[in-house]
């Protein structure tokens, strides 16, 4: 792997899919209109060794330092942002590695290496494939401040099952990975576009993902908190309102990932709603 550049999310280049990759470019575009966790994109190339040579590593440490300092105290989330990723079907589904609550420059570099490495093997395979799809060796990694999420989940501006014109929202405690990946049974809501809650459904919420010493850990939600709704109605309406505004800005129905940290509501990601959920 070779590192070529570092681009902040609020810089124009970050919005360019050819530079930052699909995931990071989308997040960068959203960052200009919405509250998105601060971050930057590390661009590079998959050719060469899987691991950075020592000299390269030292150089990267120096380069990363000011960017990491800007993100403040606490860990970061390190995510793959492939450059040939399209909005719909995923060609390299298994390679999208996400590492959460990574703390310290060395750990961040290790994480960047790991994310690059996860992309490498499948792509090398694809070179040998006969399907002829255009594959680039350029790659990008999205690094953002990792929230201590109190509440997180997903919201759709259209019912993904029935297609009805309403907001469907899933929320649970802690970081949103469990809700997104489907390992947690979240609370579920349905709202009208006028932000009226028409249904509340209590989910099991057995576990939640929380920052641990390094990385994150899945722990059990205390029983009393499983038995009640994780979100207040006010929070639910705020999330629905956010989803509607994203739809307005994008011009199409969206599926967003959100997280509350204290009173602040963050937008983590947005995707167009397709007939089949995009796997990521």
């Amino acid at each position: 792997m070779r590192i070529s550049g570092i681009v902040r999310l609020n810089e124009a280049a970050a919005r360019d899919i050819a530079v930052a990759g699909g995931k990071a470019a989308r997040v960068a575009r959203l960052a200009s209109e919405f509250d998105v966790p601060a971050g930057f994109v590390v661009t590079g190339d998959l050719l060469g060794d899987r691991v950075l040579p020592v000299a390269e590593r030292a150089r990267l440490r120096e380069r990363l330092a000011p960017y990491l300092l800007e993100l403040g105290a606490g860990g970061v989330a390190v995510r793959s942002s492939a450059l040939d990723e399209d909005g719909g079907s995923a060609s390299f589904a298994g390679q999208y590695l996400t590492l959460l609550n990574v703390e310290g420059e060395d750990a961040v570099i290790d994480a960047i290496e790991a994310v690059f490495a996860s992309a490498t093997s499948e792509r090398v395979e694809s070179y040998r494939s006969t399907d002829g799809g255009a594959v680039t060796t350029r790659f990008a990694v999205l690094v953002q401040h990792c929230l201590h999420a109190d509440l997180a989940g997903v919201a759709f501006t259209r019912n993904p099952a029935s297609g009805a014109r309403e907001i469907v929202l899933d929320a649970s405690y802690g970081l949103g990975e469990g809700v997104v990946s489907g390992t947690v049974s979240p609370d579920s809501y349905r709202l009208t576009y006028e932000l009226e809650i028409v249904e509340r459904s209590l989910g099991e919420k057995l576990t939640m993902t929380v920052p641990w010493d390094t990385g994150v850990r899945e722990v059990q939600v205390p029983r009393a908190l499983r038995d009640t709704l994780a979100a207040t109605d006010a929070q639910v309406c705020a999330i629905a309102s956010l989803a509607c505004r994203v739809r307005e800005v994008e011009g199409f129905d969206v599926d967003i990932e959100f997280a509350f940290e204290g009173d602040r509501l963050f937008l983590l990601q947005s995707r167009p709603i397709t007939t089949h959920r995009s796997a990521e």
């Binding site: 201590h148 109190d150 405690y173 802690g174 929380v210 920052p211 722990v219 059990q220 205390p222 994780a230």
Partner: protein, 546 residues
């Protein structure tokens, strides 16, 4: 459910299995104790069960002089289930509920009893007072079980939440976080220790106690001339009076109704003071150290909690608070309800007994304890005749035989309804419960220590403590904890992690293992053992010689 219709007058279903309550009453008990337990304690348990919509009931009875109990299933109606209060909702407000509802209610009852003039009451007034006492007892024991169920639920919820959030590594300090709360048992233990320090300074008192000359010691403490001349003795006498007044309204073990209280017969307290006198150093962990460990454990957890969802953090900290309260109340409620309130019932019964002896219905005041409380009302209230008096006396004599006649044999642990004769079986051959020179029980207080076994069946048997003793007893009575500052470890045949001695042993930092079957028969005085309170193992290092 068919009415059982025996002299117990209860309506428990048939076909039950009754288990000997060896945890509390391994010896035979006078009739009234079983009667009181049934009337007040069982009733309190069952009222609480209905409040929480739990389909379980408690029943107890005296079989051949021993106290047996059982639980059985009771259907919960839809209405009851709907109306049922949720036990887990009581956990967080536990301290508030105790401070503002339950303790005041108990103290009001104690004030009522204390205000009643037993000495000068007429038979009629005593009869009314007895009826009121029975009603109050039922209510007090309902409070007792509301509290106990809530405490147990709270600690259970805390444990579940802790392990679910942080895991079960003992280094995390789950138990440490609960330590450092004061409770009435620790208070009494502290007071006793203080008494022993004063006694040490008094040569005449110390030597009387060392020789077991308790009557002489009591004479000395009542001798005005001696007290005026000896300031140390006077100081002891004053503290002694205060101790008995605050902590002496109880008997030594679990029977605070029919057994003499320390205020009536202070010999056990003199024994305890005498034995603690010989201890140079108190083993208890300094409160500062306990607190420090607790703060450290909390700081470690705090690092993780800080990054948890805010609602989880808040809830866990509230639950931790409640669990600390529950740990303290575990001992404190025993002082207020099991000891103080039952002591008041004893006072009423003794006053009635004196009345009955005076008019010639009974021969001895203690005979009242072979009657049930309802029977006592009958005897006191009904029109007297020589034949009714005779009838009661012969019932009493019969029951006394049962209470006294079964001293040696081992009663069966379980008696099935329908067993023709519930005769206690003969002496059971203690099975060799050793596995590779080790006995196993429930780990109740962490730590490993090596010491010398001292098997004891009564506090008067505990003497000449050197600090290396591993006390081995049958039950977990709170009274044993009064020695914890002077011994190395504690082992009992019954009990569980939440037993009185377990909590106090943890406060003292001494290893404790409970529920070791037949420990008092498998271990012998003088055996050298290693007690591991973390794993629950007791390993025989060397058998006593001879």
């Amino acid at each position: 459910m068919t009415t059982h219709g025996d002299e117990h007058g209860d309506d428990t279903p048939e076909g039950l299995s009754w288990r000997l309550d060896a945890d509390h009453f391994p010896r035979p008990v006078p009739w009234m104790l079983s009667d009181y337990m049934r009337l007040a304690c069982d009733a309190g348990f069952n009222a609480t069960a209905r409040t929480f919509g739990a389909g379980v009931r408690l029943a107890s009875r005296r079989i051949a002089g021993y106290h047996y109990a059982t639980t059985y299933h009771a259907p919960v109606t839809d209405a009851e289930a709907k109306a049922a209060l949720r036990m887990d909702r009581w956990a967080l407000p536990l301290k508030e509920t105790w401070d503002e509802e339950w303790l005041p209610e108990v103290q009001r009852a104690l004030a009522y009893w204390s205000a009643f003039d037993l000495e000068n009451a007429s038979e009629e007034r005593l009869l009314e007072h007895l009826a009121r006492t029975i009603e109050l007892s039922k209510r007090i024991w309902t409070v007792h079980f509301l509290l106990v169920w809530t405490m147990d639920t709270t600690i259970s919820l805390y444990h579940e939440a802790f392990v679910g959030l942080f895991g079960s590594d003992p280094e995390l300090g789950e138990a440490d976080l609960l330590r450092g709360e004061s409770n009435r048992l620790l208070d009494s233990e502290q007071a006793l220790w203080n008494l022993s320090r004063i006694a040490r300074e008094s040569t005449p008192l110390r030597s009387l106690l060392a020789s077991g000359l308790h009557d002489e010691a009591l004479c000395l403490l009542g001798d005005r001339t001696r007290l005026d001349a000896d300031p140390v003795l006077a100081r002891f006498a004053a503290e002694w009076g205060r101790f008995l007044d605050e902590f002496g309204r109880r008997s030594s073990y679990f029977d605070h109704l029919t057994a003499p209280s320390w205020t009536e017969d202070p010999w056990p307290v003199l024994t305890l003071v005498g034995q603690l006198c010989g201890a140079d150093v108190r083993k208890k962990q300094e409160p500062e150290l306990v607190f420090e460990q607790r703060e450290q454990a909390q700081a470690r957890l705090g690092r993780y909690l800080a990054r948890f969802p805010v609602r989880v953090r808040k809830y866990f900290l509230q639950l931790l608070d409640a669990a600390r309260t529950a740990t303290a109340l575990h001992e404190t409620h025993n002082y207020w309800i099991d000891q103080r309130c039952v002591h008041e019932v004893r006072r009423v019964v003794l006053a009635i007994g004196r009345c009955l002896v005076e008019r010639g219905s009974l021969e001895r005041v203690e005979d009242t304890f072979e009657l049930g409380l309802t029977e006592l009302s009958q005897l006191l209230g009904e029109p007297r005749s020589a034949s009714t008096d005779e009838g009661w006396r012969s019932t009493i004599e019969q029951r006394k035989l049962e209470t006294a006649g079964m001293e040696n044999p081992t009663p069966p642990n379980v008696v099935e309804d329908g067993d023709a004769d519930a005769e206690p079986s003969g002496d059971v051959e203690p099975s060799d419960g050793f596995e590779d020179d080790a006995l196993f029980g429930v780990a109740a207080s962490a730590g490993i220590v090596e010491g010398i076994v001292r098997v004891v069946h009564g506090i008067e048997e505990v003497r000449d403590l050197t600090g290396a003793e591993v006390l081995v007893t049958t039950t977990t009575a709170p009274a044993w904890s009064l020695f914890f500052s002077a011994i190395a470890a504690f082992v009992t045949e019954t009990g569980g992690r939440l037993s009185h001695c377990a909590i106090v042993a943890r406060e003292h930092g001494i290893p404790c293992v409970v529920a070791v079957p037949n420990a008092t028969r498998l271990l012998r005085d003088g055996d050298r053992v290693e007690v591991d309170g973390t794993t629950g193992a007791i390993t025989l290092v060397a058998r006593a010689s001879g």
